[in-house]
Amino acid sequence: MDLSLTETQHLFVDSVSRYLNSEYPLSHRQTLVSTDLGYSEAHWQTFAELGWTGLALPEAFDGLGGDLIDRMLLHEQLGKGLVLEPFLATLGLCVPAILWAGSDEQKEMLLSPVATGQLSMAAALQEASDPLNLQAIETSASTNDEGFILSGTKSMVLNGTGADYLIASASLDGAETPTLFIIPADALGVVVEGYPLLDGYAAAEVRFESVQLPPSSQLGEAGQGSQIIDHMIAHGILCVSAEAVGAMEVLYQSTIDYAKERVQFDHPLAEFQVVKHRLTDMFIEYNLAKSMCLKTTLLVNEQSPDASRHLHGLKYLVGKAGRFIGQNAVQLHGGMGMTEDLMVAHYFKRLTVIDALFGHTDLHLDAFVNAPA
């Protein structure tokens, strides 16, 4: 067994970290949050040039051929930097679906441009009527002479405003299980209404008003959407968990720094036992989440049959640890922890959103308990 990073991985992590520290400070991030797009296309382009978008894509599609461990390392850094650009939507959700189920033509059309930063994507799965179920399909597709007609509304579509292509789920000709479609965002009848999320990331309502799609737009087999969605969620969980681990590391460390500086009752907070123990508990929670994130990523990477159970356990632990660390970072910062001026608030909000993405702790704990060991 060898859990050490390779020399290349070390260098990569260092370079991402150094770049974000110097070019992506919180003040800059907050100016991006207030734009319509919610991130910077120039950054996205730069990240592509630095090899971040193509990191885990095959070399045949202009990628660097990295694996899921490489992607995890990147996302951990993205979480530390609260990076707004659409890595999760494009590389965490859509690319895995295309790699797994896409036709050669679809891979050709989308993967190279993603690797080179020419386009970004969004997964349009969520519907408002069934908030905890990403498999719901009130959206419908019907077969016609030219392909399909797509109608319906998707909610909370991450990167819905910025995406060049969408992957949407729909009931094809009344089927009970979903079929997936790849839709150009500029197709006639695609209406996008963007809004920010609590944590500053961009999302949108996406309406499909009788959008005409060619036969080549179907992703995977008819009725196979359910498994593809599960696959997307699995990769989504891996990516947000790595981000959460990064965010938790920043939070527990900055709370220790604050506790050492802040003096009340003539002593730094860090000298009070209750504070010391709380910070130690935060450190413990962080490490459990980090261990589970690494183990699960390794299992998925080697396509282990035990991966699915671990994914539920991971999302449960990340939700639990994120809530504990986020809440206590705020608590130990006192009133300062409640202000939007400090970075604590922004990491806390990001962890709150990650907890809600792909299901809260209760649901994953239940799935974990019921999964075959």
Binding site: L132, L198, G335, T352, T361
Partner: protein, 384 residues
Amino acid sequence: MDLSFSDADLAFQTKVRTFIDEHVPKGQALWTKRSEWFKALADQGGWDIPKWPVEFGGPGFTPTQRYIFDLEMAKQPTPPVLPFGVGMLAPILMQYGTKAQQDRFLPSIRDGSVNWCQGYSEPGAGSDLANLQTRAVLSDDGTHYVVNGQKIWTTLAHIAHWMFCLTRTDNSGAKQEGITFLLIPMDDPGIEVRPIITLGGSHSVNEVYLTDVVVPVEQRVGEEGKGWTYAKGLLSHERTGLAGIQNSVLALEKAKQNARSIPLGDGTLLDQPNFRSKVGALEAELLALEFTEIRTLAQVAAGGSPGPESSILKLKGTEIQQRISELNLEAGGLFGSAWGLHSPGPSFARGATQHYLGGRATTIYGGASEVQKDVIAKNVLGMG
């Protein structure tokens, strides 16, 4: 022992319920009927100021009547009273203020025409409040103070007409000594209020900067240097809050309704075993906390003082509030994070997230939970 109220108390409960049924503006915006509501309460003989003593116009409730009154009021969405004047400053003025100060300030506190804010916390004086450094210097002729310094976390300072303020007049002794309680008008040119935007983007707290603010000695409450004693009494007022528990009982019912509206599998989120366990745990703890409050009440009603168990009400009560807010957060799913002008998904979702974020402050303000546990360990349990 007997669990039930006396006949007289039951009759009082009926009276309060009847009054609420007649006067709570059903289906109307509470704030539009606000003044009518408070007038009707006043017409009952001081029901608008249930905690004030009879000599200041209060209703003279027995402890049990007070409990019943708070209980019934908390069950309805009645217009809220801003606590700073009626609940926090008024008791201090009644106990330590001059007759002139009482005549000048109490009427406008009662009718709500003047808003007050509390100028206590400072950047270096949070949990350690006695460390405050805002200076008040008495003029040579002894007619006024000149105040300089900064307050922080001042709730609603931006709509307040006046601030009651702790200032330092003497640095020579222990830090609890040398603190003086002043009443300061917010329209003084030396006062600047800057908003603090808190988690989730709301504005209710502020920074207040005081630069050469002139305060006549007539606006000092009690003696110079005794402000800490007065404020400590006030903080214990702030820490009791019967309504908190009833609000939580209502909030938990609402949370169950919300969860029942969210489909999951063949049922709803409320059928989910882990979620259901959390709801059940909260219900059981609330029943116990409610009765802890009644134990306290029974002791006071019997002429005693509140027992040591009363000290846990705020601690446990705020923890329960936060846990209920997490249920709603979870029920809203990702929709609780939609932060645009119009929110998609369940109608309660966004408000639930705001409540969750804002509610983090309840274990910080009015004495952080960690500090309160120290106080209880020392003063109640006798551990150094």
